[in-house]
Symmetry: none
Subunit: 197 residues, 4 copies
């Protein structure tokens, strides 16, 4: 009997997932500055060289991780999306989805916030990320046409209905607010009052 110690050439998705998890964890805990490839590899129980099989370089690893998270986020946000509901209800559903995601995946939120405020974010194809949110945009557009929502630039509307979620979920920014059904509902009232006509 002969044993060849040559593993099958099976792309190991578990490994790739472990690398992403390790990246998020390390970046959140220690920041980009001290998140070296060697440390990420160690955390993921993988050789540094292995990372270079999946990603072109460190930059690619970080950007890919970001996009991956954004993708997960967008899927979460659009859950139960129903165009036929009243606009306020659509936004409210979206709003709750966002807080749900933030509560369940605080690491992802932390990572994206750190990432999107760094020059790394310039490397991301904005269009690709934005397209996930197109359905929301068309809802806002409809709201404006129906004179339900103020007729201002969609980025301004976003500043009052998308970003507050991020801010309120960010423990670095909001240290003593407690996120529960009541406060989330409260916050939505403010957001809706801001944009509604």
């Amino acid at each position: 009997m002969i044993i060849y110690f040559r593993p099958m050439r099976v792309k190991d998705e578990l490994k790739q997932e472990a690398v992403i998890e390790a990246t998020v964890k390390l970046v959140n805990e220690t920041g980009f500055v001290s998140s070296s490839v060697a440390k990420i590899a160690k955390e993921a129980r993988v050789s540094p060289a292995t990372i270079y099989i999946y990603y072109k370089n460190k930059e690619d690893l970080l950007v890919s991780t970001y996009i991956e998270i954004k993708h997960k986020l967008s899927k979460a946000l659009l859950e139960n999306f129903d165009e036929t509901l009243p606009i306020r209800d659509i936004l409210k559903n979206f709003w709750h989805n966002a807080f749900d995601f933030a509560r369940k995946n605080p690491d992802f939120i932390k990572f994206t916030e750190q990432f999107s405020n760094s020059p790394f974010s310039d490397l991301v194809d904005k269009a690709e990320v934005e397209k996930y949110f197109l359905p929301m945009l068309s809802v806002l557009q409809r709201g404006i046409e129906q004179k339900i929502i103020k007729d201002v630039h969609y980025e301004m509307l976003g500043a009052f209905i998308f970003f507050p979620v991020m801010i309120l979920s960010n423990p670095r920014l909001c240290t003593d607010i407690k996120l529960n059904e009541e406060t989330i509902e409260q916050a939505f009232t403010l957001a809706w009052d801001a944009i509604k006509l």
Copy 2:
């Protein structure tokens, strides 16, 4: 009585200022990751060793720079602060001050945003920074008591009247909105609608 004071070669304030400027510039352009002490020193036309005369270490340099900027910001925000005016006018004045500062010092805004979303921000004495904004807080408090402003946590109010400024001024987040008198006024309407009763 006259005292002829013959000082030793004295700490050069111009140099220290150059170091801070270089820090902000480099961090904004290339991020924390690739803003090495050597590069900052070069940008400031100073020896790396000199930086260690003014700051204990790199961390100290970054944190001090952040606090310095926050201090400047707070002074700018409270300009023309007049407690006797109607609450809406006080907030509006504050709002315009904020956009003014952001327009004149985009580098400072960029830096603080990157900084406050990084683990470095954990090293800052929050209380010290917050105290600059106490006057604003007491205005909000009064508004609540007078049933002009919604009775919710001040952090939630902040998410709708302080952070929108940051978001709208951030070219990374708002790529095509044009900041002018009109849009700023517009934005304030949204903000006020959000928090007013």
Copy 3:
């Protein structure tokens, strides 16, 4: 059953040996103060980073080098060790082994002397090094019991039969004595006269 074992690129023992040699050489020639890791690496024709694969840090490199040498020394000293011989002959054999080693490996002697007089030596597990010399100790013990050797502390005996070798072999201390069969024999006479009853 046959196992084809295909190893990764494997730690290069030649490289490690070269690092130790370079360390000894440089420390002897220029002292600890100016024996930087970079210089040692250059001397060993190796990257500075490579040294950190084999040793945790510079301290570890120096301490390991010292222990390695002590180990070699102890093996050399105990060559032809024969408990059945008269005590004087055992000591004499030991004595000649020591001078042989010192003559053949002057660098090792120089290094250990510099090392053991520096604060680095506090980092060495003394017990581990001492155990190599236990056989000699038991010989001395026997000599005392048989009333052949003076009944004094073993460290004192050591000061007269172990250290003189070091002193006489040290060109820094003994500049004009010539070490040959005659002088070594002479020195042993003095040592033996010192400790014998």
Copy 4:
């Protein structure tokens, strides 16, 4: 009344002494490697620049400190030196002086041992140091002529009557021997037995 903050040009011997003390202390505690001029200056409560008034450079500081200590040592050793006494008594007096000095100035001993085993010692004018010990040499010479002492090289005699003092006084080498009148007397017996005819 005018006050000129221009101190008198008085060479401050206290300062110089403080520098030497600081040097010895730091080198003993942390070794040559981490005894920087800045640290020594701080320990001596003096500016780094001040040290360069008294010494050409760091090397000069270390070497001068060594010679200074050696000078003190030699003066201590030759106390009560009386040529007319029997040779054994002269040596014994010397022996006791040496242990006295070692007991009272362990820092000096530690420093000289570290120094003389480092390449720094090559920078010392050996002749200058040796001349302090010439009286001892002539005693040994006389002993040889009178057939009281073995007719061997003076360096070999030294290895048995000078160095044992160093070894026995060195806590790094002799960890559990207790130095008291009895053991010192004991050690002298061994030393004398070694060299006497």
